[in-house]
Structures are given as C-alpha cells and as structure tokens.
Symmetry: C2
Subunit: 146 residues, 2 copies
C-alpha cells in the first residue's frame, strides 16, 4: 500500500470514527511511514522529537494504537518486553527471523507452514484467528563472526 493511500485510509478512519485530524497525527503518520519497520513507541517518539520537540510520548503511543485499530499498522512483540509497530502490507501476512546477536529482523512467508498450521489446528478442533511464528537464532554475519 502506497503512502498516500495509507494516509487517506487513516483520514477515512478518523472521519468514520468521529475523530479529528490533527497536526500531530499527520506528523506521526508521516514519520512512521518514513522510518523503517519494527519501531518501538520510544523509537518513533525520539525520531519525532528531533524534528518537533512539541510532540508528547502519550500522543505517539495513542496514535500508534489508532494506526493498529485502523489497520494500517500492526503491533508486534519480539520478546524484549516492548511493543513494536510495522506498517501493514495489504492482506499480506509474514513471520519473522530474529538475530539474537545483532537484532536483525528478516521477514518471510511460507504457505506450506501456514497450511500445516491450519491442518494441526483442525485436528484439535480449533479455528484459528491469528498466529505468531518467530525463529530466533544467528544471522549469517553473526554466525561467521563467532
């Protein structure tokens, strides 16, 4: 999904929810789309502060939750105790490879795994709403440098 597309989706969301368009919300979305993925609230807050010291942490926090509610962002947890957010690609799902040495995050998607997950869930009578698959290990750079 393009940036302008995402922005209009958020605008629509605000309208339909009876919420207001504000300068802060625009700045935060702008920076969120500009910055790389998997940012914590703190990460984004610090980036925003450099350009505009008038933005509060609470507003960044609340706005990221709005992004998630609206469907333009997804919240993730990679086990370090803080939430991270990434822009949603339309309908596309992916899982993560995480380097436990340097923190590098690689995204992947494997339909065979997804199918097997559904199969296993079915065998246990579960209907799956969402899942989480994270592979933790060493990336190639960190493996060779040991």
């Amino acid at each position: 999904m393009g940036k302008s597309n995402t922005k209009s989706k958020f605008k629509d969301f605000l309208l339909t929810q009876g919420l207001k368009s504000t300068n802060q919300r625009e700045l935060i979305l702008e920076e969120f789309l500009r910055a790389g993925s998997h940012l914590s609230t703190e990460d984004l807050y610090l980036r925003l502060r450099m350009k505009n010291p008038r933005i509060g942490y609470a507003t960044v926090h609340r706005t990221l939750k709005l992004f998630a509610e609206c469907g333009i962002a997804e919240q993730r947890h990679f086990g370090d105790g803080q939430a991270r957010y990434e822009a949603s690609a339309q309908d596309e799902h992916h899982d993560h490879l995480i380097c436990i040495s340097c923190g590098k995050i690689v995204e992947f998607e494997d339909s065979r795994i997804e199918e097997l997950q559904m199969e296993v869930a079915g065998e246990h009578g579960f209907s799956i709403e969402r899942h989480r698959l994270e592979l933790y290990g060493y990336c190639s750079s960190c493996s060779t440098s040991i």
Copy 2:
C-alpha cells in the same frame, strides 16, 4: 521425566551451583509439579499461600527462575503480559494452540512444521536456536457456543 527424577535433578543443580536446599524450594517444586501447566508466578504463589502463608512472592519468582535455569521448567509468554511456566518434558519440544475465548491451551508438535522452519531459516542464512509458534483461535467448545 518423573517427579522424583525432576527433584533430584534440581538437587544436583543446587549442589553444583553452590546453592542451598531449603524448605521453601522444596515446597515450591512440589507444588509446581503437582499443579497443572502454564502457571503464572502469581498462580503458583496463591496455591502455595493456601497451604503455607509463610512463602513470599519474591521467593516463588526466584525459584521459578532457578527451575528454568536448571532446565526443569520453561518460561512462556502467551501475550497476556505475564510469564507462565511449565515443567519441561525431556528433550521434547511442543508448540501451543490457545483459545482466545476460554484460555484453554493445547500442546502440539509437528515435525513437518519444524523441518520447514529449518529450511526457511537456512534460505536466509540463519542458524536457529529456538522458536515460538502459537496459534490463537477458538477451541471446539467455544466455537459451537457462539
């Protein structure tokens, strides 16, 4: 692994680490093995308090960490913001199906999924140390009662 086997493994661990065997540690291990799996620290603490009001939360917390360090327990996070512990089965790994309605947790293991995970990781140059696969949805009881 049998209960007595687990207990002696913990005793050995304490010895080799220069730690001491205490009444609290014995009571906590006893109750941990008696109680069902996927207990939070608070869960275990409350169970222990009923029988012995002289056990402190901090001790339960510290002892569960010792169990994990020793290898007789594993810490899990199922997204509700609190750590849970379960007794380790020897060498056996499993993943989880979690009902988002009633909280029921079902364990499963699928070697085909595990293999595909290794394959995917290899394609990205990662060597995997551990992983986490959780399927969230509705169990059969909760599906039909809707």
